[in-house]
Amino acid sequence: MRKKLLVPAMLIFALSGGIFCSKSGNDSNGPVTGNGFDKTAMLTYYADQLIIPGYASLLEKANNFQTLSNTFLAARTPSNQQALLEAYKQLHLQYTRIEGFNLGPAVVAALESYVNFNGGLDYSFATSGELTGFSIDSTTIENNITSGTYNLTLFVRSSFYAQGFSAVNYLFFGPNAIEKFAANTTNRVKYANDVVSRIKLLVDQINASWTSYRANFIGNTKTDVGSPIGNIINNMAYQLDVLKGPRIGWPFGKQSNNTAFPTKVEAYFAGNSAALAQENIRNLKKIFTANDSGKGLYDYLKALNKETLANQVKSQFDVVIAKLEALPDPLSKTISTEPQKVDEAYKEIQKLLTLIKTDVSSATGVQITFMDNDGD
């Protein structure tokens, strides 16, 4: 009997030997063999080619925006306003290029909530009065200016809606923005300054954190909840959810029996919502393909013998990009003038979202949930 047990016993002990060693050994990654895939190389590419340069550029654009904002606040002329609008558009576009990497330092800083709050996915677009999606909360902003007492670091919805890009839209590019500075000028200028400084501060902080965070990021090739790969795939699904919801679908009226909410599109007053959505999806594709460097999720799927899926996702990205590029700015008008085109884009976004949420997450062993849980 003992002899008969010997073979399976040896097998499992040989295996377990490896497992136990793994627990004590350091977490270095061995050479990749066979049809394996170098996950470290993928993460290194993301860190060094997309994330770190992305934040450096974001910081640069935030600095430029602050300079022009100072100029405008000192001399509030239409031409200064126009220059500032251009700088803002560049800043926001750059933001969409890194928002697919909402992980690590960006989460610590709560960048998305403070800078480009989308209202959260768990809020319904049922009534127009509520602050949902990319609403602009002019009431709170005006109250803050009048009272002069506010705390922009508060982690609550009313605080998110009173700062970041939505506040920039209202203060600098809203209706009669220049004229409004005539009343209560000191407070209004101070508030505008505080909003701009806070954006810069947060970007500065994240940019600096990546220097030390980089090693954690590329050194962790796990796929569990909170791991870099888990985060990237979850974020891709999340960004598509935001696109399907607050960015396009909900202002379009998908939740509200086709009652549109034109003022709830992203960057309503700057009027470049469609451009932002297009840049967002183009960058998600860049993350997926890693710019065709052979180091992206696309290549990881291929290494997992999921070539059909990899190509399906890639071409669906192209379909979504084309459908979104067919939507002209301002999106707030397009949603009522071209409902057919918006609806087509919406449907294609949903197809892509389904692929990421089901096929891709399944193939990569990543759980799509922002919740850690017990399981068996």
Binding site: M1, R2, K4, L5, P8, A9, I12, S16, G18, I19, C21, D27, N29, G30, P31, T33, G34, G36, F37, K39, L121, D122, Y123, F125, A126, N220, T221, K222, T223, D224, W250, K254, Q255, N257, N258, A303, L304, L309, Q350, L353, T354, L355, T358, D359, S361, S362, A363, T364, G365, V366, Q367, I368, T369, F370, M371, D372, N373, D374, G375, D376
Partner: protein
Amino acid sequence: MFPQPPAFKLHSWTMMAINRYSLQKPVSIAPLISFRIAFGLLMFFSLVRFWWRGWIDTVYVQPKFHFTYWGFEWVKPFGSTGMHVVVAIVVLSTLLIVLGLFYRMATIVFFIGFTYLELIDVTTYLNHYYFISLVAFIMIWLPAGRNYAVDICLNPAKKSTLVPVWTIGIICFQLAVVYIFAGLAKLNADWLLRAEPMRTWLPAKTHLPIVGQYLYQPWVAYLFSWFGAAYDLFIVFFMLNKKTRPVAYCFVIVFHIATAIFFPGIGMFPYVMIVSSLIFFSGSFHEKLLSFFPFYKAQSKTRTSNESIYQYANQRIINFLLVLYIFVQIMIPLRFLLYPDHLFWSEEGYRFSWRVMLMEKSGAAYFTVKDKSTHQSMEVNNAAFLTPLQEKMMSTQPDLILKYAHLLADAYKKREMINPEVYAEVYVVLNGDPSRLLIDSTVNLAAEPLSWKHYTWILPYKKR
């Protein structure tokens, strides 16, 4: 892979169904005592961990809606304070079980408390939670507090050193049910011939040094699959046999630790099985084990008149209940045979059947609520109704999809829709097949009743 041992001896629990008298054979109480202590401690740490991770809040307090079990719709959670108090009481009961203080009361409180927590929401269903509830129920009836317990210090007259063998056998039976049904469930084409879902899960673990680099290889997935199936099917028999038991227990430890490392989110299950499997060891082994504990007085090996045998008042009723329990435990996992089509796809008869880590399934569900009379049509934002965990669980399980559809119909009625119809486009990936529709998206789910019968609106599963 496991040959049947030639000199295989039937253990007493298999005998008990045949021979009513062997059921009463007195054996040492020691296995029950160490089981009580180990189980109590494990439950203590398990619940403290649950609390510490903030799951009381995310699982019981945050959801606005709960997926109830059929017949248990009346089970409702309390508020945040209430739920914390409930868990605190259950945690306290685990300590009382360990100490053997007010044992009967403590096991009743633990069973009711723990089962209450599990009945609140179907989306929290886990096989090992179900196992814990069953064991807790069994423990109420067992004399596991009759020795080495505070109760006995307070009332020495209640001390027992011998118990009827079935009191230990019933726990062995429960473990055998878990393992053997888990093993039988693995005997399917995906598991054995395609090595799915191991083939999907293993490449996610390539960060492990040494073994990591091999996890992309299909043969490793086949090895894991076949070994896992053989382990589940046969481990109980090797644990029952005295000669193979020590080696088999090493397998138990290694196997479950391996599952903890290689499987996505398996939670406490491996540890529950490692600890529970100790029950297979003999009385003398447990005597030795307990002799390391403080204040434990070893029993003399030869039976003397000092030995006190625990006896049940009405053994005939106990016998009847035992047979009934065993019958029910064997029938429940087999009920899936009454349903047509592929079990993994429709999941009719899937729960309470020891199907642990058996498939890779994920889904995306999009709901639309329409009103024909007013021509309204609205897409549903699932996140506004469900937590991420609830949404994830609902997206792949047809009965939960139906329950959610009914909730939506009610919710939209309150929003002044006269006759809401609910339609769902649900895409599901099963064991690496491309995603496709799980249910008929043209069926108004609001009009479909909950039923034990097969849901005809589930689309047929087609092999790829």
